[in-house]
Symmetry: C3
Amino acid sequence: MAITFTLGEIAAAVDARLIGDPATPVTGLQTLAAAGGSDVSFLANKRYRAELATTAAAAVLIEPAFVDECPVAALVTDTPYLAYARLTHRFEQRPAVAKGVHPTATVDPSAEVAADASIGPGVVIGAGVSIAAGVEIGPGCVIGDHSVIGEQTRLAARVTLYHAITLGRRNLIHSGVVIGADGFGFAPSPEGWQKIAQLGGVVTGDDVEIGANTTIDRGALEPTRIGNGVKIDNQVQIAHNCEIGDNSAIAGCAGIAGSTKIGQRCTIAGAAGIAGHLEIADDVHVSGMAMVTNSLNEKGIYSSGTGILPYQQWKRNVVRFRQLDKLAGRVAALEASAEKKQKG
Amino acid sequence: MAITFTLGEIAAAVDARLIGDPATPVTGLQTLAAAGGSDVSFLANKRYRAELATTAAAAVLIEPAFVDECPVAALVTDTPYLAYARLTHRFEQRPAVAKGVHPTATVDPSAEVAADASIGPGVVIGAGVSIAAGVEIGPGCVIGDHSVIGEQTRLAARVTLYHAITLGRRNLIHSGVVIGADGFGFAPSPEGWQKIAQLGGVVTGDDVEIGANTTIDRGALEPTRIGNGVKIDNQVQIAHNCEIGDNSAIAGCAGIAGSTKIGQRCTIAGAAGIAGHLEIADDVHVSGMAMVTNSLNEKGIYSSGTGILPYQQWKRNVVRFRQLDKLAGRVAALEASAEKKQKG
Amino acid sequence: MAITFTLGEIAAAVDARLIGDPATPVTGLQTLAAAGGSDVSFLANKRYRAELATTAAAAVLIEPAFVDECPVAALVTDTPYLAYARLTHRFEQRPAVAKGVHPTATVDPSAEVAADASIGPGVVIGAGVSIAAGVEIGPGCVIGDHSVIGEQTRLAARVTLYHAITLGRRNLIHSGVVIGADGFGFAPSPEGWQKIAQLGGVVTGDDVEIGANTTIDRGALEPTRIGNGVKIDNQVQIAHNCEIGDNSAIAGCAGIAGSTKIGQRCTIAGAAGIAGHLEIADDVHVSGMAMVTNSLNEKGIYSSGTGILPYQQWKRNVVRFRQLDKLAGRVAALEASAEKKQKG
C-alpha cells in the first residue's frame, strides 16, 4: 500500500522551491539518518546538520542557508519543520472508517446523527445527542445524553463523553479519554464527605486535540472550558471549572486543579502540576514536573524542583535542605559577628 | 427541562431559615457573580464577600453573621457550604438509566442480577457475579467472574472490574476506572523478571467514590482495601495491598505504592506520591506533589518540593542546591575559624 | 473451588528440599503472619524473621541459613522469593476464557485469527489484523487495522491497539491500556499548532507486561520500541519514539518523554519523569518522583526532590531555597573577608 508522489508534487504541496528532478518518485518520509533513496527528509534542527552530509534521502526540506551543504535534491523553504508537518498528512495511512451507523451500535431514537457521520461498532449514543457532519465515532465510545459533537470531530476507540458535553469542530479525541466525569467536590459534614453534584458540563473549542486516557471533569455550576486550538497530551487531568486559553499546549501527565485559568499560547510541560484557583497569564511556559502553587501573572518560563543527582550526593544535599533555615541563621550570625568586630 | 422549586421548598430541604418570600420560584444554583434572579447562590468563603453586595441571585445561603449584608432573600444556616452541597442534588439532571438488562449485554447464566438493577448496552458480566438491588452498570463495563457489587452502587460507562472484586454499597465508580488488575510484582531471576501471580482481590467499603481512569490493583495474597466513605479523584494509582482508612480523600494524579496503609480522615492532595510499605497516621494532610518517603506517625500537614520560580532564578538556586553539602561545610569552617579567633 | 497440593508436590514444583511430611495437604499461599495450617508461606525479607517463630503455616519456603528457626515444615531453597513467585501461579484462579470468537465480536473478514485464540464479547478486530495461536483478547478490546499479536499474548478487557501495532509473544496487557495513539507532535505556525501526523507504530518484544491505563504512543516516523521482558506498571506514559531496553521495569505513574532511550535492566520508580531526547545507560535505577533532565551515562542510583517535612519546617526551608544563590554569595563574602583579615 505504498503512497507515491513525485518531488514536483511534494514541492507544490508545501510551497517549496525544488532544486532537483521533479519526476523523481518518493514513497515515504524519514529522518536524515534513516532515509533511503525513495524518502523525503528534512533539516529542522541544526543539531542534525552533520547528518545532512551523509543522508541517502531522495530530497531534503531545507532552509535557503543550508542548501549548499545538501548532497541530494533540495526542497527549499523558510520553514522546513512546518513543511514536514504538513507533508506527514500526505503519507498517513490511517484506516478509513465506514460511513453510517454500525449495526452493533445502540443509538437513542431521539439522537440526531448526520448522514455522513461514522458510528463504529458497539458505540452507545444517548437521548438528544447531536452529531454533526463528517464526525467519526470509534468503536466502543459512549456519548451521554444531550451531548453535542461538532463537524469533522473524530473520537478514537473507547472514549466516554458524559451527558451535556459540547465538543467543537475538528477535535481529535484519543482512546480512553473521559470528558465530563464529576468534578471532585465534597463538603465536610459530621457524617463524612457530602458529595456536591456537578451541574456544569464541558465545552471545547475548535481544533482541539486530547491525548489518550486524559480526563476533563465537568464543572460544578458553570462548564469547564477548553479554548480553540488547545492541544492536550496523554494522561492529563483537568479538574472542574478550569479554563484553558486558545492555542495553549499541555504535555503528558500534567495536572491542573480546579478553577484554575490558563492563558493563551501557554505551554505546560510534562507532569507539571498547577494548584487550584490560580491564574496563569498568556505566554507562560511551565517546565516539566514543576509545582505551581501561586498565580503567574507575567509571561515567561517558570520552573521548580532540584534536578537529578547520584543517590549519595542527593542524600547529602537533602539532609542540608532540611537544615537550610538553620544554615541561613548560622550565616546571619557569622555576618553579625564579623560586622561587630569591624565596628569594635 | 427546567427544575423549579420555591424558596420555601429550598429552605425546608436544607433546614435553613428563610428571610424572604417563600413563594419565589427558583430554577437553578449559581455562584454569587453568575447568579440571576431565578438562581439560589451561597456565601461559603469570605473571599467572595465582596460579591455578595452586587449579587442578582433570588436568595443566598448564608451564615447568620452576614445576613445584614445580604441584598436579597437570605437562607440562613450555620453551614452554607454543606447546604449548597445538599441542594446540588435537587438540581442535578443526570440521565435516568433504564432498569433491566440491555439486550446487547452479555450476562453469564450463573450471575445473579437484582431485578431492579440497570445493566447498560454492551456490558459483560462474568460467571458467579452478584449484583445487588438498585445497582447501575453503565455501557461497556466489564465485570469479572465472582465479583460482588453492593446495593445502589453505580458504575459509569466503561469500568473494568477484574475477577473476585467486592464493592460496597452506594459506591460511585467513574468511567475508565480499572479495579483489580495485577499488582506490580516480580521476582528477579537469572532469566529476567519472574511474574508473581496476584491472588488477592480488592474490597471497597460503603459510600466510596472513585474518579475517572483511576486504577486500584488487586492484592498479592490478601486484598487491597478501600475504607468506608473514601473519596478518590481521577487518575489516582493505588497499588497492591494498600489500605485506605475510612473517610480519607485522595486528589487527582496521586500515587500510593504497594502495601502502604493510610489512616482515617487523611487528605492526600493532587499528584502527591507515597512510597511503599509506609504507615500514614489518621488525620494526616499531604500537600500537592509532595514526595512521601517515610511513615508519618503524627497527624498534621506535610509538604515537600521547592516552589515555582522564574527559570533563571530557579537555575541559579538549583546549582546551589547541588553544592549545598559543600556550602554547609564552608559555613562550618567559617564558624570554626571564628571560634578559634575568639578563643585565641 | 479450593486448589489442593501436597507438600511433596510443592517441593517438586519449586525444586526445594522438604523437611516435613510430603503428604501434608495445602490449599493456599499466605504471608507468615496471615498463614493458617493449610497454607504455604515464605521468608524472603529478613524484616519478617520475627514472624517466623509464630507462624501457623503448614510449611515455609526458606533459605538454608534460617531452617533451624523454622517451627513448621521447611521448603529449603536458596531463592525463597523466586520459589514463592513460581508457586503463585499454581494457586491462581484466573477465569478461563472461552476459545473461539464470541458472537458479539466484530471481526473484519480479512483478519487472520488462530483457531485456538479467544476473542471476547464486544471485541472489534480491524482489517488485515493477525492474531496468533493461544492469544486471549478480553471483552471490549479494539484492535486496529494491520496490527499483529504474537503467540500466547493476553489482553485484559478494554484495551485499545491503534492500527499497525505489533505485540510480541507472551505479552500481558492490562485493562484500559492504549497502544499507538498519536505522539504529541505539532509544529508552530502563524495559524497555531500544525499537527504532525504520526506515521510510526509501536513494537513490543516478548514477555512484556503493561499495567492498567498505561499509554504508549506511536512513533513519528519510526516505531516506539519496548524490549523483551520489559515490565511496565499502571498509568505510565511512554511518548513517541522512546526505546525501552530489555528487562527494564517502570513503576506506576512514571512518564518518559519523546525519543528517550532507556537501557537494559533499568528500574524507573513510581512517578519519576524523564525528559525527552535523553539516553539512560544500562543498569540505571531512578528513584521515585525523580526528575531526570539530563542523560545518565553511568550505571547507578539517581534521585531528586527534597523529602517530606512538616509544613512549617518545609515552608521555612523553601523560603531559604529561593534565596539560596544569595546565601551562597553571602558565604563567599564572609570567606573573602576572613581571608583578607588573615593576610592583613
